[in-house]
């Protein structure tokens, strides 16, 4: 029987080792799998490469993971946002590496990684510093830059509804990077608000088919990052 549910959150993140590449879903707080990130802090692997649109807020979730010194490198499009203090300090101190990628190129690189496309051309970033050193080729009279697919050892994502096969539905704009990250990681770990019986998710509406999911953990009432940040909460 296919049953991707795990009993503890420690099982959910088990095996994420020093030096691993981890994709973390979410755009700002929307879709951030904060309980899984905290479990990753508890597990404690170092020298992680983390792929996320941002770098977290306050001292919880992704910001707390960075503050814990576990992240050697961030691959993201917008590392500077409201209440983002941890990353900027470490970055200015030269203690964390940054690979800055335009948002759409980041999304497409993740999608390509999951789709078995090692590289593709895009017009985005041509004539900007982010194209420096990259291969350029002209198509239809316009220069394009070669970008490479991204894959990861693990993906951590949050969803709204799941079944034991790992079919997933998301909530509104919390969907963002999660479906493509599910396709691009060796092991995809999902925290789900609701786990329903197989057959209860409309097959016409499945966003992430179960083939892309490896572990499923039920977090029925996830914390709200912005509330924790407002309250000054620090993890751990």
């Amino acid at each position: 029987m296919i049953d991707k549910r795990v009993d503890t959150i420690a099982e959910a993140v088990a095996g994420i080792a020093d030096g691993a590449t981890v994709m973390i879903g979410g755009f700002g707080e929307a879709g951030s799998p904060i309980e899984l990130i905290h479990a990753l802090i508890d597990l404690g692997p170092k020298d992680l490469t983390v792929i996320n649109n941002n770098t977290g807020s306050g001292h919880v979730g992704l910001a707390a993971l960075i503050a814990a010194g576990q992240v050697a490198k961030m691959i993201c499009s917008y590392p500077r946002s409201l209440n983002s203090k941890v990353f900027p300090e470490l970055y200015r101190a030269g203690k964390i590496e940054l690979e800055l990628v335009p948002q759409g190129t980041l999304a497409e690189r993740i999608r390509a990684g999951g789709a078995g496309i090692p590289a593709f051309y895009t017009r985005t970033s041509i004539n900007t510093p982010l194209a420096d050193g990259k291969k350029v080729r002209t198509f239809a009279g316009k220069e394009h830059v070669l970008e490479f697919g991204l894959t990861a050892d693990f993906a951590l994502v949050k969803c709204q509804t799941a079944d034991r096969y790992g079919n997933l539905l998301f909530n509104k704009t919390a969907r963002n990077y999660s479906p493509i990250m599910c396709t691009a990681a060796e092991v995809t770990v999902v925290q789900a608000r609701n786990i329903v019986e197989v057959g209860q998710i409309d097959p016409e509406c499945v966003v992430t088919p179960g083939i892309f999911v490896n572990r499923l953990f039920n977090v029925p009432d996830p914390v709200v990052e912005s509330e924790l940040v407002k309250a000054g909460t620090q993890y751990p």
Binding site: E29, S77, P79, R80, T105, A107, T124, L130, N176, V207
Partner: protein, 222 residues
């Protein structure tokens, strides 16, 4: 060049947004950047149906929610809470940038640090050595959206022109800007350079020219 201490003249932030809204046709698919561009939506003339795209994954973005309707998982690209209109669609990031990169969005309205007379845009980085570089979707938008409009003050707070001969800040994209809405004028970027299409009330052409680094012409009425 302009002098710090000039009295404020021309359009307010709201009026710049309102003037921009006038140019958005019925049925347009529009992406609005963070800041003044976000305000454009509230000024669309009655009778026009405009669909807003936010690159984090929503087509059919509506206004701010009432407090009882707020969902921190329903936000815009500026990470503010928004609503979804009837007929909206949610999608993932790769699909969202298919719309942008694939040339499906009619208009994007962005802020700017500098715009050059060739339409080069710098709006993501001052290049300062201690700045945290952050680009978001700006480079994708200028590379893919059919028409790029900029809303910006005509000069910086220090009085330096933002419409320049060549951008000194790192580029977001080259030859991408079509039209600029400043507090002083509506300026088109044409093959020949900057052309004033309209002056704000109480502003004359010389005032604009003095505050523009690059050559600028008045559109000849014909």
């Amino acid at each position: 060049m302009s002098k710090p201490g000039d009295n404020p003249r021309g359009w307010s932030r709201e009026e710049m947004a309102q003037r921009t809204a006038l140019d958005i046709p019925d049925g347009a698919y529009v992406n609005l950047g963070i800041g003044i561009p976000e305000m454009v939506a509230q000024f669309i003339p009655a009778g026009r149906e405009v669909i807003y795209h936010t690159e984090n994954g929503l087509l059919g973005m509506g206004p701010e929610p009432s407090p009882d309707n707020a969902d921190p998982e329903l936000i815009n690209a500026g990470k503010k809470m928004v609503t979804a209109v009837p007929g909206a669609a949610f999608f993932h990031h790769a699909d969202s940038f298919v719309m942008i990169r694939g040339g499906h969005i009619d208009l994007c309205v962005l802020g700017a640090l500098q715009v050059s007379q060739q339409g080069d845009l710098a709006n993501w980085s001052t290049g300062a050595p201690d700045a945290i570089p952050a680009v978001g979707g700006a480079m994708d938008l200028v590379a893919g959206v059919k028409k790029i409009a900029v809303i910006t003050q005509h000069t910086t707070k220090d009085g330096h022109p933002k419409l320049v001969q060549a951008c000194t800040y790192p580029l977001t994209g080259k030859a991408v800007v079509n039209r600029i809405y400043t507090n002083l004028a509506v300026v088109d970027v044409e093959d020949a350079g900057f052309v004033v299409a309209e002056l704000a009330p109480g502003v004359d052409f010389d005032f604009v020219r003095d505050r523009t680094e690059a050559p600028i012409k008045m559109r000849s009425s014909s």
